[in-house]
């Protein structure tokens, strides 16, 4: 079983609101002094793949990222958690692609990876932690022509050529089965909180050569990289303003504030 997890590097999504700034030219977040991190659901997807491999030692977990050179760190993070081979897709021609174009590049890379070791399963986080579109997984399913399972939280072994997933739903979960190869998007639940990467693992990963593929290394229709190929246009983006009108409950002590809160809420007919 060869699982490839797509991981995106993003600017720390916990950037406090008062430090969050947008570049009016590029319409992207200004990084400032914020760290670059692995997008949270992609990290969970790595965890889900590794949990499967913990049970089935013959499985291979690869990590694939499209980004700038720094995205290598995100791949090292995945490898520090336990992922095996890693692949970076980096080319100035990829820099301004929309989700549609990026999915074409990722699909081309998945085909190339599959030439050496056939890919059985592609995992993507349910959405990126920055733009939060949630389209990459479904796009890859379409680009590859594979079935997909959305919002799974775990992989469960199944009979030859098939795979099962748990999917949380209201008041419980469903178990779904799909033929391989397939694509799944990954959501979080209690069972898949990501493990910490081991420092040793990251060091080891940094010493191995990371394959970096540009557009020329992939069998990819060049027209798909042209600005005209975009399917989405970000016409405007602005920071959300939240006005503060909080009425702070007074009191000599915390206990008194608690009592005053109840009275105030009663006055406002909230309780």
């Amino acid at each position: 079983m060869h699982i490839v997890v797509c991981v995106k590097q993003i600017i720390n999504p916990d950037t406090p609101a008062h430090l969050f700034q947008l570049d009016p030219q590029t319409k992207k977040q200004i990084r400032g002094s914020q760290p670059l991190v692995i997008s949270i659901f992609d990290e969970i997807a790595v965890e889900v793949a590794l949990q499967f491999r913990d049970k089935d030692k013959s499985a291979t977990v690869s990590a694939l990222s499209l980004g700038e050179t720094e995205a290598g760190e995100t791949l090292h993070h995945a490898q520090g958690m336990g992922a095996g081979p890693a692949f970076l897709l980096s080319d100035p021609a990829f820099a301004d692609l929309d989700a549609f174009g990026r999915a074409h590049v990722l699909a081309a890379a998945l085909r190339k990876i599959g030439e050496t070791t056939p890919v059985d399963l592609v995992l993507c986080g349910q959405q990126a932690g920055d733009v939060e579109l949630g389209v990459t997984g479904p796009y890859l399913a379409e680009a590859l022509g594979w079935p997909m399972v959305a919002l799974a939280s775990n992989i469960v072994p199944a009979s030859e050529g098939r795979i099962r997933f748990t999917r949380p739903r209201e008041g419980g979960y469903a178990v779904l089965e799909a033929p391989l190869p397939c694509v799944a998007t990954i959501t979080n639940d209690q069972s898949n909180v990501p493990r910490y990467p081991s420092i040793l693992g990251i060091r080891k990963a940094m010493k191995t050569q990371l394959p970096v593929w540009a557009a020329a290394d992939l069998s990819l229709d060049r027209n798909l990289l042209a600005p005209e190929a975009a399917r989405l246009n970000l016409t405007a983006i602005e920071t959300a303003r939240r006005e503060s009108h909080c009425e702070f409950i007074p009191g000599q002590s915390a206990k008194e504030k608690g009592e005053h809160l109840a009275q105030r809420m009663r006055e406002l007919k909230l309780i």
């Binding site: 389209v135 178990v175 399917r231 009108h245 008194e256």
Partner: protein, 332 residues
């Protein structure tokens, strides 16, 4: 030529979900702005025809029923197939879906097949006067930014965030036609099968229906401390929820997680205890009528959105608050 806007409605095992009426409200807004446009609700499920009149009363001009036992709430693939056939045959100008499990999968896949773009999780729309003028409004970066996007392609495909659009009041006098789809659902590909469904004993009121939600975060410190929240929730007739930090720690179940990746709730009162107010949490409670926060840190972002705030340790504030509530209740 009349421009069609398709509004996706799935009423699989349940009642017609509120989200269906929200999607209709969005479709109606767009149709009314364009003029000459027709809202067609595509109603999926098994024996769903009974919901058709409700959809018409809430803004549909036509209801297309797609009936099949296969069309459950887990069956995105055949629904995708139906929409693809419809879109290819009848060339609607737009397809709108709820931003949930089904909409989240179907929307990008449909857009890919129809060579168009997809915008997810819209909280608003600026319809312009024709399909090529639409701007979709959606939050990004955990609600720290708001983006306006246009779709480049032959069809507008978007999902709308839960609670972002208010359903239109029902107008029983509205007229509309009900048509049964002739598409052969059985012939459509369905690779993904549900092999098991497990339901836990659910305790208390579902979050989406609760008028009062008592929610705890990392500041609660430990799973066992949630008994204090439960006690208060029981007293007020509310439900208990938690932040992602609480859910990841296993203090509350995944079902109780509130926020962008959990439940989007709209209670009368949302009481946040030991929750910092990260944007991803706040985007789940934007529609709460009032937010009350208890937090030791007066700088905590939660106070930026809260209507009432108490700066203090919940260990001291909450027992006094609960006792006072008990008294107020007792005294009528």
């Amino acid at each position: 030529m009349v421009t069609d806007i398709l509004a996706f409605c799935a009423a699989a095992e349940h009642e017609l979900p509120r989200s269906a009426l929200e999607v209709l409200a969005c479709a109606r807004q767009v149709a009314d702005a364009w003029g000459e446009a027709r809202v067609r609700a595509v109603l999926f499920g098994n024996n769903v025809a009974s919901h058709a009149q409700t959809l018409i009363a809430h803004g549909a001009d036509q209801v297309l029923t797609v009936n099949h036992p296969r069309l459950t709430s887990q069956a995105a693939e055949p629904m995708l197939g139906v929409l693809e056939q419809l879109a290819r045959a009848e060339r609607p100008a737009a397809v709108l879906l709820p931003n949930d499990l089904l909409g989240g999968e179907i929307t990008p896949r449909l857009a890919w097949r129809l060579d168009s773009g997809a915008v997810t999780d819209c909280i608003g729309v600026e319809p312009g006067r024709s399909p090529d003028e639409v701007r979709w409004v959606r939050p990004t970066h955990g609600g720290k930014a708001v983006a306006r996007m246009t779709i480049i392609g032959p069809i507008q495909i978007a999902t709308v965030r839960s609670r972002a659009f208010e359903p239109r009041p029902a107008d029983p006098a509205r007229a509309g036609e009900v048509v049964a789809s002739a598409i052969d659902v059985k012939a459509l590909p369905n690779n993904v099968t549900v092999v098991d469904e497990v339901t836990h004993e659910s305790e208390g009121i579902p979050l989406e229906q609760a008028q009062i939600i008592v929610s705890g975060g990392r500041g609660m410190g430990d799973a066992k401390e949630f008994v204090h929240l439960r006690k208060l929730a029981d007293l007020l007739g509310g439900a208990v929820a938690g932040s992602r930090a609480a859910a990841d720690a296993g203090w509350v179940s995944h079902d109780q997680l509130v926020g962008q990746t959990g439940k989007i709730v709209a209670p009368k009162v949302y009481l946040a205890v030991g929750i910092s107010g990260a944007p991803q949490h706040m985007s789940g409670i934007i529609s709460a009528k009032s937010i009350v926060a208890i937090n030791t840190d007066e700088e905590a972002p939660i106070f930026k959105a809260a209507h009432l705030g108490v700066v203090g340790d919940w260990r001291e504030v909450l027992p006094a608050f609960t006792a006072a509530c008990e008294q107020l209740r007792g005294g009528g």
